[in-house]
């Protein structure tokens, strides 16, 4: 459409409260953008599902396998020594990392109470260390082993045992 033909009034104004409309063409860049997104959409579907056959379920499995190789799980668990020094060091670790969920007095909160007689994941020093090290994914407890390291895990376990009613 030439410049001269632009801005032609359609003449609906009397039927739309005086609002007139031009019979202008749609901007070319806009039409181009619309077509481009449609072509892209078809291309993406073809590429993702039929050419590359991508799937995030498989992607996740591949990444987990790679992580398993790069960061092998530690098989050695921390040792618990019930010395006053270890317990004091454990208290510092506990207040910095664990108190947010288990409470400053171990009374529980987001996470369970650690000073009552219920031990959901076992009460022996080995079981407590395993729980701290590996976490409880389903309940949102992180795997603390690699974050704290074995020494601190042992200390914090000593602190919990010293406070609680777990058999020593």
């Amino acid at each position: 459409m030439s410049k001269k033909e632009r801005d032609q009034i359609l003449g609906h104004g009397a039927e739309s409260d005086g609002i007139e409309e031009y019979d202008n063409p749609m901007p070319n860049w806009w039409v181009g953008l619309f077509y481009a997104t449609i072509v892209w959409a078809a291309g993406y579907v073809a590429y993702y599902h039929f050419i590359a056959k991508k799937s995030y379920v498989r992607e996740l499995a591949a990444q987990m396998a790679e992580a398993e190789q790069r960061w092998p799980r530690s098989t050695q668990l921390a040792k618990v020594e019930m010395t006053p020094a270890a317990i004091a060091a454990g208290e510092v670790v506990f207040q910095a990392n664990c108190a947010a969920c288990h409470g400053a007095a171990l009374q529980g909160g987001i996470g369970p109470n650690l000073v009552d007689t219920t031990w959901i994941h076992g009460s022996t020093p080995e079981e407590i260390v395993a729980t701290i090290t590996n976490g409880v994914a389903a309940k949102g407890m992180p795997t603390w082993g690699p974050i704290l390291g074995n020494e601190k895990v042992g200390e914090v376990a000593a602190y919990i045992i010293s406070k609680g009613q777990a058999p020593q």
């Binding site: 104004g13 409260d17 609002i19 806009w30 953008l33 997104t37 579907v45 995030y56």
Partner: protein
């Protein structure tokens, strides 16, 4: 009754098309919806400011369960979407459709049942949500008796709406009416399907759909509530009020047809983009994503038709605050409808989903597009509807700048906060292979400055609304003091 010249007949547009104005139209109902809009804007946005404070400083809930974030957040969203945005849509629709169709609303009783029914629904939301009575479906929290009330009131509105179209005195249906129709029809369908619940007690019910189906239906609803409650009716309002305020013809009739049909067709499929990386089948996720990308142009069609209608009037944008509001509204519409498709791309969604970026995104739409367009309409309507000038016209410009500053603070803080959150959550310690920030609360703490900045932005935006409400109140008082009591400036019903 004294004859007052129709406020519609502005000198430049004293078109014969508007000669019908006097005495024919029901403007009393428009005034009711106008007042409700301003009232609920104050309530809904004050709630928003309060819950923003709670996120920055939780003791603000004073230990009262009814004031906690979880209880008040749905009340805030319901109040701004269904109360504020709903009422401005009804204000604009009742005002413009009578004039576009050259006829009074089909039935005045239905208009009033619609008005009072809708306000009662909002009051009942305020009496249930803070007490924990909820269906737990986002934007569809209201319990089943209120859902039934919404259905009845909506059907009343629909009968009145289509009745008015049936008795219209024109052949041509202006583009705004198409957008209003998509609003009336689609919201009915969405609301009914997503609220199919089997009542157990007066306040409790069980959804008919379960699990994945429920999630898909919910986000088909949630996404299209944005489309057909916050987008299409507002585009209809834009198509009426923008050319009226600019006093220029709409840029392209052809563009309005194409972008209308492509928008309503494509929007309805895009819901699954809310469920990327979930248990929804991957092909359905792909569908949600590609339909979102294809939505960019249809959405922008509305923006460019609005902005190009301003050709030759840009000098007036410098001086006319109503046009300022409109330009910013349409620009934010364009920005938010680009950001949405961007967020629906898998890789971007993996970073942005569940973060405050999403909150920033919805507010650039809600504050920028819905809010700013609503303010433009309210200011434009006030002298025409109530037949008296604004007492403080200079406050309108002040409101514009306060609101714009508020939106910028809001969106920037939520972008920054959202990206911070997204990056912290995914950070992996290269030596151990574990999450770098496994303690959730640690990341929350880092967000505090952004929450305070957002509170400042929200407070500014709310302050602008207070200024607007004061302006209307002062104008009403001033008019009462200076003019003799002649009653309604517009003639009584025909």
């Amino acid at each position: 009754m004294a004859t007052v010249p129709s406020p519609d007949a502005t000198p430049s547009q004293a078109a014969p098309a508007r000669a019908l104005s006097a005495g024919v139209y029901d403007d009393a109902i428009v005034k009711l919806f106008f007042t409700a809009t301003v009232t609920w804007a104050l309530v809904g946005m004050l709630l928003g400011v309060f819950i923003a404070l709670e996120l920055a400083w939780w003791p603000a809930n004073a230990g009262i369960a009814q004031l906690t974030f979880g209880r008040l957040r749905p009340l805030h969203t319901n109040a701004v979407i269904f109360a504020f945005c709903g009422n401005i849509c009804f204000t604009g629709i009742y005002y413009s459709m009578q004039r576009l169709l050259k006829t009074r609303m089909w039935n005045d009783t239905l208009s009033r049942l619609h008005f009072w029914g809708w306000q009662l629904i909002i009051v009942s939301a305020a009496l249930t949500l803070p007490f924990g009575l909820t269906q737990s479906h986002e934007y569809a929290e209201l319990i089943w008796p209120i859902d039934w009330a919404i259905t009845i009131v909506w059907v009343i509105f629909a009968i009145n709406f289509f009745g008015t179209i049936a008795v219209r005195k024109v052949d041509h249906l202006y583009v705004a009416i198409w957008f209003y129709m998509s609003f009336v029809i689609t919201i009915a369908v969405l609301h009914i399907v997503n609220n199919l619940q089997i009542p157990a007690t007066l306040t409790r019910s069980y959804p008919v759909f379960g699990g994945l189906t429920d999630a898909l239906v919910q986000w088909w609803y949630g996404h299209n509530a944005v489309a057909f409650f916050l987008t299409t009716p507002f585009l209809g309002l834009m198509y009426y009020f923008l050319p009226r305020a600019v006093e220029k013809p709409v840029y392209s009739y052809r563009l309005s047809i194409i972008h209308f049909w492509s928008l309503v067709f494509l929007y309805i499929w895009a819901g699954p983009h809310h469920l990327l990386y979930s248990a929804v089948p991957e092909w359905a996720q792909t569908l949600g994503m590609v339909f979102s990308i294809m939505l960019i142009a249809p959405s922008w069609g509305g923006m460019i038709n609005g902005l190009l209608t301003l050709r030759g009037a840009w000098d007036r944008v410098r001086t006319d605050p109503i046009l300022k509001f409109m330009v910013v509204a349409v620009s934010f519409y364009g920005m938010a409808t680009f950001e949405g498709p961007l967020l629906s791309i898998r890789a971007v969604n993996a970073l942005g989903h569940y973060t405050n970026w999403i909150i920033g995104h919805v507010h650039s739409g809600a504050l920028g597009w819905n809010g700013m367009l609503s303010f433009a309409i309210l200011y434009w309507l006030y002298p025409r509807l109530f037949g008296r000038p604004l007492a403080k016209p200079e406050w309108v410009t002040t409101h514009f700048w306060i609101a714009t500053t508020g939106i910028v603070l809001y969106t920037v803080s939520m972008w920054a906060g959202g990206l911070t959150e997204g990056l912290f959550w995914r950070a992996i310690d290269a030596t151990t292979g574990q999450l770098r920030y496994p303690v959730w609360a640690y990341v929350v703490e880092k967000l505090a400055p952004f929450y305070w900045m957002r509170l400042a932005g929200g407070t500014l935006f709310f302050g602008g609304v207070v200024l607007m409400a004061l302006n209307f109140i002062i104008s009403a008082r001033a008019a009462r003091a200076t003019t003799p009591a002649t009653g309604d400036v517009l003639p009584a019903r025909a």
